[in-house]
Subunit: 319 residues, 2 copies
């Protein structure tokens, strides 16, 4: 099963890193990018890439490759229409950040039964083919969706790809993933932007800035288009998270303005961070993919910190 070829659509930071990591694990991998520049850069690094979408999808269809959608959400529609026309039988996954938006697009073109969403929780402030590395996913959580519709065999293919890239697999329902991603990925971007913008208006602030500011604004260096795309695509969940944060900060504001202690916010935040530092990561080992209630079992395990570090068995397969 791990000999299934991999077809990567989009050779930016994530797609490009995935291509390197999968090749490093001995997988057959080929890729496509819309702009010739990334295609040529990847080719110069020894990878099998093209800017011909029809050709790459015909090849995927012939080899029944696992197709990986590694483009920003706004570019998904065009790719999915082509996949439906040329390679509708191929197993399909994605590596974009917001799962609800991708599910909507995949459902709209009728490819839901071959689709299992994915999200490697790794990145840097840089983007593009040149920023990628084979090591980007090593030790990182890689969410693989266990929504009600997912097919056990496609699920196992995506799990194996993530493991081949060195990631640990976190099974999660798309809806829960998006609510969590809003708080631990999208909200931090908004706070970083606000912090950088606020400091940028104060004389002397940059002259004094040290660790707290650098860490707190690191992700504000991310390309604005990427930040907007992921935040706007998860607007509903992000609003919930942002409202909670605004509520906490408004209470702190009131306390400060009345010379009252900041106890509530500081104690809550400190306790949460300490809890995070010792959050357990038990390994999921007993679930058999495809058995009764396997999706519910994996979703519950992922929610309480469980991760998959080596391939789970699939019902009916050897091993």
């Amino acid at each position: 099963m791990t000999n299934t070829p991999v077809c990567v659509l989009g050779l930016g930071l994530i797609g490009g890193s995935l291509m390197r990591a999968a090749a490093g694990a001995g997988r057959e991998v080929f890729g496509y990018n819309r702009s010739l520049e990334a295609v040529q850069a990847a080719r110069a690094d020894g990878f099998d890439t093209t800017e011909d979408l029809d050709a790459v999808l015909r090849r995927a269809a012939e080899g029944n490759a696992l197709i990986v959608l590694a483009v920003p959400v706004p570019a998904l529609g065009r790719l999915l229409a082509h996949i439906r026309d040329v390679a509708s039988g191929c197993p399909l996954t994605d590596v974009t950040s917001v799962k609800g938006a991708v599910l909507d697009e995949v459902r709209a073109v009728g490819l839901l039964d071959r689709f299992v969403g994915g999200h490697p929780m790794a990145g840097t402030a840089h983007s593009g083919w040149a920023a990628g590395t084979a090591e980007l996913f090593v030790g990182a959580p890689w969410v693989v969706s266990v929504d009600d519709h997912v097919d056990p065999e496609v699920w196992a293919l995506v799990m194996n790809l993530a493991l081949d890239c060195g990631a640990v697999v976190v099974p999660a329902r798309s809806e829960e993933h998006d609510a969590a991603a809003a708080t631990i990925s999208h909200l931090p971007h908004l706070l970083a932007e606000a912090l950088a913008a606020t400091a940028g208006e104060v004389p002397l602030a940059f002259a004094l800035a040290a660790g707290s500011f650098r860490d707190g604004t690191r992700v504000a260096a991310t390309a604005p288009d990427l930040v907007r795309a992921m935040c706007e695509a998860n607007a509903t969940h992000l609003l919930t998270a942002l409202d909670r944060t605004l509520n906490l900060l408004n209470h702190a504001r009131d306390a400060l303005s009345q010379d009252k202690p900041l106890t509530d916010l500081v104690d809550l935040g400190h306790a949460a961070r300490i809890r995070y530092d010792s959050f357990p990561r038990p390994e999921i080992v007993t679930t058999v993919i495809g058995e009764d209630r396997w999706r519910e079992e994996l979703a519950a395990a992922g929610r309480s910190g469980g991760v998959i570090r080596s391939a789970l068995r699939v019902r009916g397969s050897r091993g």
Copy 2:
């Protein structure tokens, strides 16, 4: 002048690191801590320390040592009263974060003419003697106050101590320092606490947390007492910074809820962070401490990024 002994009051992370760094630079340094535990830990590491405040201050007075206040703001009053009684002639500085609050305390006991405020912009999430290192200040900005009252000779003593510790000196007026510190140090703490607290309430959030969350909440691991002390001591300036951030986030909230783009916040934040990455740090070399308008000259240079990397000349001294 660099042979002036150094008397460190308070042997926590900052005071303890300062003691190590000054000793490493060949300075005579001795210290005091209220709790015997830190005194003994420092002594075991080979440092000259005591828990007898009267004795340490008599020794400072005899040697005309530079006294460094390295205790939290709430503990300043008690120390300053003792200093006034036993060692009122000694040059005096501090290494606490909020300069306005310290100025008020120093003024109240009548020691303003021997005082030059300081603030090394370095730290870790840990505290106490054991957390300190001689390298903590290497390359870090160390603010030395150029308020109207400051004495040129005391100013030079504090500058030399900071340089001996490996820091770069940023001259700044106390008021401007506090406004800047509110945005690049205290506000990041509040945002980190709010982010950690928000994520702590969402199932799956800790399971998925990666770089953005870790960086954005790093300082939430700081002891709550320290966070509250520095934020509450700078409440007025922090309110100004927090209100600006709340304003930016509320606009982002409105945009998200109306399906409008997050352009304003994201573009502002990104531009500020990029500007910070290339913020110039020209060296201040020509100012002579004690000459006409030297304070104004240094404050203006610090505001536009200027730093002191080697000791400036003092009017009337050799060199």
